[in-house]
């Protein structure tokens, strides 16, 4: 059963995060269909709890994508978003769960490569580490 598709959830900001995803799509860039995107107004809206709940609910990898720091539509939102991701990384690492399973990315609206690259990286991580409830050593 380990050949099931990895479950990847992305929290994507409505501004440059989504703009980058749309530009990528219009430029014909492809990524794995197992990436599911949840739109939030700003990466600063993402709570560490949302990320953990996503893992609880079956995600194998979670990523947050927002505007570039210092160019966030909401001024400081993507800086906050990164901090939340870092905090969750710390919690997961303490529990022996690979912290690579959660990642923060930044994108500008003109970066066609940014969203597919982030999505593919997380799919690759999820494939490499295996499903959260099967693969991986327990340490």
């Amino acid at each position: 059963m380990t050949d099931r598709r990895p479950k990847v959830v992305g929290f994507c900001c409505e501004r440059h995060g989504m703009d980058a995803a749309v530009l990528a799509a219009r430029s014909g860039r492809q990524y794995d269909a197992s990436v599911r995107v949840i739109q939030v107004p700003c990466s600063g809206r993402v709570d560490g709890l949302h990320i953990l709940k996503a893992f609880e609910d079956g995600a194998d990898a979670v990523f947050v994508i927002g505007c570039l720091e210092k160019n966030c539509y909401y001024d400081t939102g993507s800086i906050e978003g990164r901090k939340r991701v870092e905090y969750v990384k710390g919690m997961l690492a303490e529990l022996g769960i690979e912290k690579e399973r959660v990642e923060m990315f930044n994108a500008a609206s003109t970066n066609a490569w940014a969203f597919p690259e982030a999505a593919s990286k997380m799919v690759e991580v999820a494939k490499r580490l295996g499903p959260l409830d099967m693969g991986g050593d327990t340490r």
Partner: protein, 412 residues
């Protein structure tokens, strides 16, 4: 009187003027020569990975996206203003649009480009991050028009967006003001023959480098598609040079080159990067910030020297010959990739339309419009008037927009 303003040019300045006016409930007719909006900005890459480096590229492209959705703006792509006639307090302008041969149904998938049998292709996606991202066909190359039978792209298109019956269109509009923002052209790096441009595949201009970065997110060598290990960045290629007729400093090259250098090091901290320059003129950045950054990186060297020549070594590497800072000796250093940071020339200030409107050009070709001309309703915006980066072009364009709307208040 008419409530429309004609904006010539869909680059950062033209877009910002247009958006400023539309926001003030003034209708805009925007005429862009190429197949999509963005001007030079669409060729350039965003220079941030995590943190914004304030290059302004996204600002221009976001405005392009906004303008296309704006009901108050009429955008003509692949179009030219063929004439502008003064009529009382405004102008009657004639816009000629070339056919794109691809409808709005295009999804940008690129299957048509794959299918096109023409060497060098006859159907293209807009370059860079241009908006809208709809393909277009070059009639002069396309076999359908040349031989009248090929329809490879049409049958490959999953959305049936190819329309060979598309026709050139001509429209006239009455406008009250005209904003001339035809922007710039990058200096062709090959004009400076001694630096190996055109001779060696891995000598690229900074515009090419940005294009590669924009497309792939990382820099690769054109010759083998592999990431370089040793890179040289040469400043002031074509700028500050009497020989090229670009005596002025192009202003934005130091800003953009230092920022793509930082971006390259961010993506590959192992990369060896040598930065050759005469004076370091980073815009809107403390003068020693880049120097301090370079000092903190073991693999980055700043060299105050204008290289004399680029040649090829026996192992295929590129050799950059440059004097040391104190001019005491000449050294040759080997690189995998050489980036020539090119300057700019104003574009279109000497066009027939500019002449018709009374826009003059100075000895470098920059457009000159005085306040008298503005009273007559002709404004010049953006880098066609003097060297500037995107941010400054945007700021000045907002100012121009305010003068346009101010004139309107005055005449009403």
């Amino acid at each position: 009187m008419t409530n429309q303003v004609l904006v010539v040019g869909g680059g950062p300045a033209g877009l910002t003027v247009a958006k400023t006016l539309v926001d003030r409930d003034i209708q805009v007719v925007l005429v862009e020569r190429t197949e999509s909006l963005g001007g030079m900005a669409r060729e350039l890459t965003c220079k941030g990975l995590t943190e914004c480096r304030n290059c302004g590229v996204c600002f221009a492209m976001d405005r392009a996206g906004e303008l296309l959705r704006e009901p108050g703006a009429e955008v003509f792509l692949l179009s030219e203003v063929v004439s502008a006639q003064r009529t009382g307090d405004g102008y009657k302008v004639k816009v000629k649009s070339s056919p794109r041969y691809v409808t709005d149904d295009c999804t940008g998938c690129g299957k048509c480009v794959e299918a096109c049998p023409v060497d060098g292709k006859a159907v293209f996606a807009p370059t860079g991050s241009g908006q809208p991202r709809i393909h277009w066909i070059d009639r002069t190359k396309c076999l359908h028009f040349k031989k009248g039978k090929c329809d490879a792209c049409a049958s490959a298109c999953p959305t049936k967006a190819i329309d060979f019956d598309d026709r050139a269109k001509s429209v006239t509009r009455d406008v009250s003001e005209i904003v001339y923002a035809t922007g710039i052209r990058a200096v062709d790096a090959c004009e400076v023959s001694r630096l190996g441009c055109g001779t060696f595949a891995d000598v690229v201009s900074s515009v090419d480098a940005e294009r590669i970065l924009n497309e792939k997110g990382r820099l690769v060598r054109p010759s083998d598609g592999r990431p370089p290990k040793r890179v040289a960045v040469l400043q002031c290629v074509g700028s500050r040079s009497v020989k090229n007729g670009v005596e002025y400093c192009s202003k934005f090259c130091c800003k953009y080159a230092t920022k793509i250098s930082q971006m390259m090091i961010d993506t590959d901290p192992e990369l060896n990067l040598d930065f050759y320059f005469m004076d370091l003129r980073t815009l809107y950045e403390p003068q020693d910030e880049f120097k301090a950054w370079a000092k903190g990186k073991k693999t980055v060297r700043l060299l105050r020297s204008m290289p004399a020549a680029v040649s090829q070594g026996p192992d295929g590497t590129l050799l950059v010959r440059a004097a040391t800072e104190t001019d005491t000796e000449v050294q040759e250093t080997a690189y995998d990739l050489v980036i020539l940071s090119v300057g700019m020339r104003p574009h279109g200030a000497k066009d027939a339309l500019a002449g018709q409107l009374g826009i003059g050009a100075d000895s470098f070709g920059f457009a000159v419009a005085d306040r008298e001309l503005e009273k007559a309703g002709v404004f010049v915006a953006g880098a066609v008037s003097e060297p500037m980066d995107i941010e400054e072009a945007a700021v000045r364009a907002v100012a121009t927009g305010s003068r346009v709307s101010g004139r309107r208040r005055g005449t009403q």
